[in-house]
């Protein structure tokens, strides 16, 4: 549909002969947060990996602003504005915080805006600003999460693909992360596709809930409906 930032049509993907995703359709309008929720093994991470170009789809199309992304390598997608923060964060342990962040902007031609973006990230994540010269592997889990997010943000992405940001983090940090996503959406118009096991906190910030089950989209509905409609919640989320 015209107007959506990200569209997947009849998407299928898998690892070797093992298919994981079947016939996935989804639409994410610009400036919204979509939460992909579902049980372990539902294909959430595989969906993100396929959308970010790390995994080649076996069938179907992925459209960013109406342009087909199939076969575009990861590093090229980053330049098109798709930032993927993987599970386990993808922080480079042997580089300092500052170096990690600047890595995220290496490809950018507009050096002055890259420097501005770096400053903004430091304002957003104050703990990072005080640990600029620390190595990635010296950071705590929460700081790594900030660093991974920050590295994605210095590239000024249009679409942020976020895999399990709550994994292994204290509830307070999770709440801060979610609040930050909402703030980024409201202030900068960032579009977020968020994979989460933590259904409540994800639905609290999301505009759209996409429930996955056994590699298919079982339901895509406004997050408010999933939050408030007890029957729907029982049927699809089990609580």
């Amino acid at each position: 549909m015209a107007g959506d930032l990200l569209t997947a049509e009849a998407l299928a993907a898998g690892y070797g002969p093992v298919p994981v995703l079947h016939d996935v359709d989804l639409r994410v309008p610009p400036g919204t947060i979509a939460a992909v929720i579902g049980a372990n093994g539902a294909g959430k991470t595989t969906l993100l990996r396929t959308l970010s170009g790390m995994l080649r789809p076996t069938a179907g199309r992925i459209l960013l602003d109406g342009r087909d992304l199939r076969g575009t390598p990861v590093e090229q997608l980053v330049r098109r504005g798709v930032a993927h923060v993987p599970e386990g964060r993808g922080v480079i342990g042997e580089l300092t915080v500052e170096e990690n962040l600047r890595l995220g902007a290496l490809w950018r031609r507009d050096r002055s805006d890259a420097a501005r973006a770096l400053d903004e990230v430091y304002q957003l994540f104050e703990p990072l600003a005080s640990r600029r010269r620390h190595l990635g592997h010296q950071l705590s889990g929460g700081e790594r999460q900030m660093l991974a997010l920050g590295r994605a943000l210095v590239g000024r992405p249009r679409l942020l693909l976020l895999d399990e940001p709550s994994l292994g983090l204290a509830p307070r940090v999770v709440a801060q992360t979610m609040a930050l996503l909402r703030q980024l959406r409201d202030d900068t118009g960032l579009t977020v596709l968020l994979v989460e096991q933590n259904v409540r906190s994800a639905l609290a910030v999301a505009d759209q809930g996409i429930v996955m089950s056994l590699g298919r989209v079982a339901l895509a509905a406004p997050a408010a409906r999933l939050r408030d409609d007890a029957d729907l919640r029982h049927a699809y989320l089990g609580f």
């Binding site: 993927h84 923060v85 993987p86 480079i92 580089l95 170096e99 600047r102 890595l103 290496l106 010269r133």
Partner: protein, 368 residues
């Protein structure tokens, strides 16, 4: 991912080179200042040392290009190369061919040597690019296998095409004497040291700047985590090819300088042993650090000399002495490598910076 790569440094801190606080001078200025200092030092020292030591120091400068290039490739970008001896051979033979071509046309002035050096570097860049493109698709043992093949094939080519390379005999390298302006009694070895040191310093300044630049950061990112590097928008294969080409260019310059110093090239000097020695040298010196490459280069030159002195201590039959001299450097190199890996996994330079850190912690400067 990095566990399957050959050259992740053994200690986490060893090869990091974190940007230290309190540095305000621009990187290039700082490196140029250091280079000027070293140049002045070499200049002074070249008048104090005898001819043989000058020649040895020049050889260190030549090896230093190769070891510095290798440490950037293996230590920073994580690509193992067992073929850098062959890349040195490429540089050496290219220089020999260029110098001979110039000499045939009567172009014997000293300035043509600079042109020949550039030709040698360019030729090695081409070979390095070909190997590098193949290497960027390979990991761990496969990469080692490919570069090993290069190490074996290149010297063999010089024998196969003996019309061009003159087989085992090799080629003579005509080199102009020191400029007349320096006086007629100016020792040739001192001039050789000046040439080698100047070329080597230019190479090192360029490498040092590269290491500190965005490329250096990309190299380390690719070494540590290819997936994370890609997600940050880094083209991994391209970065690896760049590292290989840069490293090859340095090795080519090193080989060309060796040819200038020896005034000849032959395949025997660039065998597989040289490739292995180069790798051992950068590991012993401290992988991923240019200062470590300097220790490695010194070791490469000092070791044969040391074994020569050692065998002279004993009265041996000429045959036994010759056998010993051939094998002792390998044995000593090997045992040094084992000892260094146990005592100081970060190599000589890693050990030195650990000592320096301990000293600073004990006696903080500026707060006495």
């Amino acid at each position: 991912m990095s566990a399957t790569r050959a050259a992740t440094p053994p200690t986490r801190h060893a090869a990091v080179d974190p940007v230290r606080p309190g540095r305000s001078l621009p990187t290039l200025v700082r490196h140029l200042a250091v280079a000027t200092g070293v140049a002045l030092l070499v200049l002074t020292v070249s008048y104090q040392l005898d001819s043989f030591r000058n020649y040895q120091l020049a050889t260190v400068a030549a090896y230093l290009c190769a070891t510095a290039g290798l440490t950037v490739l293996t230590g920073l970008c994580g690509q193992l190369s067992l073929g850098h001896g062959a890349l040195m051979a490429t540089g050496a033979y290219s220089l020999a061919l260029a110098q001979n071509a110039f000499a045939e046309r009567g172009l014997t002035a000293g300035g043509w040597l600079a042109v020949s050096l550039v030709v040698a570097v360019l030729a090695t860049v081409v070979v390095g690019a070909v190997v590098g493109v193949a290497a960027a698709r390979l990991r761990g043992p496969y990469l080692a296998g490919l570069t090993l093949a290069v190490a074996v094939v290149v010297p063999a080519l010089t024998v196969t095409f003996d019309g061009v390379f003159n087989g085992e005999q090799g080629l003579a390298v005509p080199v102009a004497p020191a400029p007349a302006a320096l006086g007629s009694y100016f020792p040739h070895e001192r001039w050789q040291l000046w040439v080698a040191a100047a070329a080597s310093l230019i190479c090192l300044v360029l490498l040092a700047n590269l290491v500190r630049s965005r490329y250096g950061r990309s190299f380390r990112a690719v070494r540590d985590d290819e997936v994370a590097a890609r997600l940050a928008g880094i083209h991994v294969a391209r970065t690896q090819v760049v590292a290989f080409v840069v490293s090859a260019a340095s090795a080519g310059l090193g080989g060309a300088l060796l040819a200038v110093l020896a005034q000849s090239v032959s395949p025997g000097a660039f065998g597989l042993t040289l490739s292995l020695f180069l790798l051992m040298a950068v590991v012993i010196g401290g992988l991923g650090r240019i200062a470590g490459a300097a220790w490695g280069a010194i070791l490469l030159v000092a070791l044969p000399d040391l074994t020569h002195s050692l065998t002279n201590l004993f009265t041996l039959s000429p045959a036994a002495a010759q056998r010993l001299e051939g094998n002792l450097p390998l044995a000593i190199f090997g045992s040094t490598l084992i000892a260094v890996m146990i005592v100081a996994p970060g190599g000589v330079q890693g050990l030195l910076s650990r000592l320096a850190r301990a000293m600073r912690a004990r006696w903080p400067v500026g707060r006495s």
